[in-house]
């Protein structure tokens, strides 16, 4: 069956090559039959890749170690859920997932547009098939998922224990969905440029895919941050790691596009800007895939060493995408001329434009910082890296400005807004922001962090704006249709999904940034070394190391501690952070030492709350035990797993009976939970905006406008 999988990849490549030829021939005069054939090549590619993926997945589920990939990433003792998700913990499996998602979303896009965009679709098809073909070549030449293992091992290496978390299982799927969904607008933009069909229709066709990409990327980024917070023994959720940044950049340009697209729809402006944003988002998505898969930048995520075949392939693809994009946009710049200009700096267009500039500036800063090692190497000969402080210095002020703009944008009218109107619309929001400012200055010491203070005030502004919009909208609708306020509100959102979904996203992002600002600027963190009985004071809490814990499970040994938490004298319960040790398979390690020299994970002791989180992690000191471990290794070298189990139990027992001091990392950060709440709100808003409006509403709106428009000549 391994051979079938490999044959499937060859078939997929053949389908891609044929499809590109057929689509281009059909576009150049061969006729719609050839274009339809090319479209079917994409559908077939999806089917074939699905078969290959299914084969590999079933191999994982059956723990078939004749597949090399299965043998090196799974084991019979891995739980079933993680057996299924182990497929994309490997380089090969994740590339196969990528091509599967690309083919799936491309097939969907091509099916939805098969009766429209007849001049654009063939070129878009060719581009999407080109991507699929590229990944098929990678899978065939550089990262073969269907390599046979020889000899076939009896047991697999097992899944990296850091990945044994439901969020880590879904995180790659979400990110890849985001990246592949971003390829669809890219392809249609190329098609529109080549066919010189740059009117309103191609934008309307790709809007949903851009929104879908934005949503999936956002969820993927968030899952990564949440996992980092609850799983890693570090206590942070964002480290400006190159791979984190790689997923954030296309999300930023995608956000910019979703806003500027509205300007093009309404005013025919910014056509060059928009098409460049779409092309940039697609290129950054491929760049993001490249950074994770090729290890070109030093990062904790790097999968393979630098300078390999995959890195060169991706560099080539990105170079082609960038050069092609620039050439096409330059060649079609006549057709991309704006229909109108900016009427007034006090208009929604101007605010959106400023928002776009801030987002692109953010993306540029992050890009520069991420690639700085390569830039400095090219310019000065030595690799130099920039750390989180540099990133924060530039991204934080931009983010604060972004939140402010997200509060102004919804309230300003299109084309031109009058000062009187602005005064009326901003009365309540500014009052809200001022109230928050005064409250924070009087009741807390927030003033020592002026940027955080500014952010809190701007977030208050955004929330009042959104609340005001919902209130006024429901009231306006209620007065027209005589509905009760709750029903009016629901109907309002249902009939204006893009608008109110968007407002909800703004509210969610504002809340998210409040959480980020509070937990970064007002955090109390301490690393302390405690013996049982000792206490430490962090923030407002007092934590006492009560006693050590040890637990043995089939695959790991957990050593930890029980911490009693008190605040202001009140007992708040216990936290139980642990550190889990997974045995290594290395033959040169002794039976006991091998346990503690393999992988280690942290089980965080977390006390979440709406106002603050108390986060703890423990690092047991194995030093005093080292003597006994080496002794046991020597005495029982080469012993079987039964003896190993007894020895480990003895060591664990000793740890509990005579516990050495352990190092604790304790963090008290305010409002962290609001990061997760804010992102849930934002994603709900995104879903609402994505949801297609009921057909009845669309028809009614069209009829009303048409009859209204028809009345116009009489009035004029």
């Amino acid at each position: 069956m391994i051979v079938v999988g490999r044959a499937c990849l060859i078939l997929a490549l053949a389908a891609a090559v044929y499809g590109i030829g057929a689509s281009l021939y059909g576009a150049r005069g061969g006729g719609t039959a050839w274009v339809a054939s090319g479209r079917r090549a994409m559908y077939s590619l999806f089917g074939i890749v699905a078969v290959a993926f299914g084969l590999l997945e079933s191999a994982f589920l059956r723990s078939d170690f004749s597949f090399d990939v299965v043998a090196s990433h799974s084991s019979t003792t891995t739980p079933d859920f993680y057996k299924a998700t182990a497929i994309w913990s490997s380089q090969e499996g994740s590339l196969l997932l990528w091509i599967l998602l690309l083919a799936g979303f491309s097939s969907l896009a091509l099916r939805l547009t098969r009766a429209r965009l007849r001049e654009v679709a063939p070129y878009a098809q060719a581009v999407l098939l080109g991507f699929a073909g590229f990944f098929a070549v990678l899978l065939l030449l550089f990262a073969n998922p269907f390599a046979a293992s020889s000899p076939v091992p009896a047991q697999g290496t097992g899944l990296n224990p850091l990945l044994r978390h439901p969020m880590m299982a879904i995180h790659p799927v979400m990110l890849y969905s985001g990246y592949t969904l971003a390829a669809v607008p890219f392809a249609f933009a190329i098609g529109a440029l080549v066919a010189r069909r740059l009117g309103a229709d191609w934008i309307a066709a790709i809007r949903r895919f851009s929104l879908g990409a934005w949503l999936c990327l956002g969820i993927g980024i968030l899952l990564g941050a949440r996992w980092s917070y609850v799983e890693l023994g570090w206590g942070g959720y964002w480290g400006w790691d190159p791979v984190e940044n790689a997923s954030l950049m296309p999300w930023l340009t995608g956000t910019a596009f979703l806003h500027s697209i509205m300007i093009q729809e309404k005013r025919g402006m910014l056509k060059v800007w928009n098409v460049s944003l779409v092309l940039a988002t697609g290129t950054l998505a491929i760049l993001g895939t490249f950074l994770v898969r090729s290890g070109v930048l030093d990062s904790i995520h790097a999968f393979v060493g630098a300078g390999n075949g995959i890195a060169w392939m991706f560099t080539g693809l990105i170079a082609v995408m960038v050069a092609g994009s620039i050439a096409l946009v330059h060649g079609r710049r006549e057709a991309l001329r704006s229909e109108h200009g900016l009427d007034s700096l006090l208009s929604r267009e101007a605010v959106f434009l400023l928002n776009n500039l801030v987002l692109v500036a953010l993306c540029f800063v992050i890009f520069w910082g991420t690639f700085f090692p390569l830039i400095s190497e090219a310019l000065t000969g030595t690799k130099a890296a920039l750390g989180p402080p540099w990133f924060s210095r530039y991204t934080v002020p931009l983010a604060v400005l972004l939140v402010l703009l997200s509060g102004i944008g919804p309230v300003i009218a299109w084309r031109r807004a009058t000062a009187a109107n602005l005064r009326r619309m901003f009365a309540w929001p500014v009052a809200g922001a001022a109230a928050v400012l005064v409250a924070l200055l009087v009741l807390s010491d927030t003033a020592r962090k002026p940027l955080a203070l500014a952010l809190f005030c701007f977030a208050a502004l955004v929330l009042v704006v959104v609340g005001q919009e919902l209130w006024r909208g429901a009231r306006a609708r209620g007065s027209m249709t005589r509905e009760a306020p709750p029903a009016a509100l629901v109907a309002l959102v249902r009939r204006n999904r893009r608008r109110y979904g968007g407002y909800l996203v703004h509210a969610g992002i504002a809340v998210l940034f409040v959480g980020v600002a509070a937990s970064s600027a007002f955090q109390h963190a301490r690393d302390v070394r405690l013996s049982p009985g000792q206490s430490a004071r962090v923030g407002g809490y007092q934590l006492t190391y009560v006693k050590p814990t040890a637990k043995l499970a089939s695959e790991k040994v957990s050593l930890g501690a029980v911490l009693r938490v008190r605040k202001g004298g009140r007992d708040l319960g216990t936290l139980r952070p642990t550190r889990g040790y997974y045995p290594t398979m290395a033959p040169d390690k002794g039976p006991v030492g091998g346990i503690f020299d393999g992988q280690a994970t942290s089980e965080v002791g977390l006390r979440p709350g709406l106002r603050r989180d108390l986060w703890t992690a423990v690092e047991p000191d194995l030093g005093p035990l080292q003597r006994f471990i080496t002794q046991a290794d020597r005495q029982f070298a080469g012993a079987g797993s039964n003896v190993q189990g007894v020895l480990v139990a003895a060591i664990a027992q000793r740890y509990v009976q005579r516990p050495p001091p352990a190092t604790f990392r304790i963090i008290d950060s305010p409002l962290v939970t609001w990061i997760w709440i804010g992102s849930l709100i934002a994603f709900t808003g995104g879903l609402i905006a994505l949801w297609p409006a009921p057909a009845v509403v669309r028809r009614r709106a069209a009829t009303a406008a048409r009859t209204g428009a028809a009345r116009e000549p009489a009035r004029a």
């Binding site: 570090w234 904790i300 400095s376 000065t380 020299d597």
Partner: protein
């Protein structure tokens, strides 16, 4: 569409464009300038042993030398060696130790030379998640 651009609006637009571009160039320039001074150069252990000046911070990249990890209280002592080679330098580090930290793993740590020892900046230790492909050679039974 009937909204022909007169001289004034188009000149206004051009001025706005020029202003915006100049601001962008200035900001980008400031960004680039500060990044060179805020960055720390990446050095391998052998490079660092040869050319590291006291007081300047460097990004040390390499592998944790086998048998060199020693914990003393809350301070961690270990040696970092070249990826391909045996030259190594001693490092003293306090702060967060990432979960994957083990001997033989690739690490990145920001250090400052103090005499013959390199002191790691707090919380700057990054350990690469082990690549499955090299673990195969050393790890599989």
């Amino acid at each position: 569409m009937g909204y022909c651009s007169e001289m004034d609006p188009s000149r206004k637009r051009r001025i706005r464009l020029v202003v915006a571009l100049s601001v962008a160039v200035l900001l980008a320039g400031a960004l680039a300038y500060t990044s060179f001074s805020a960055s720390s150069e990446a050095r391998s252990p052998s490079q660092l042993a040869r050319t590291g000046t006291s007081g300047q911070s460097y990004q040390l990249t390499g592998k944790v030398a086998t048998g060199s990890i020693r914990q003393q209280g809350s301070t961690l002592f270990f040696r970092v060696r070249d990826r391909a080679g045996s030259a190594s330098v001693p490092v003293r580090y306090t702060g967060v130790v990432p979960d994957p930290f083990r001997e033989g793993r690739e690490v990145i740590v920001t250090v400052r030379r103090e005499g013959g020892l390199f002191v790691g900046e707090k919380d700057s230790l990054v350990t690469k998640c082990p690549s499955k492909f090299t673990d195969k050679q050393t790890g599989k039974a």
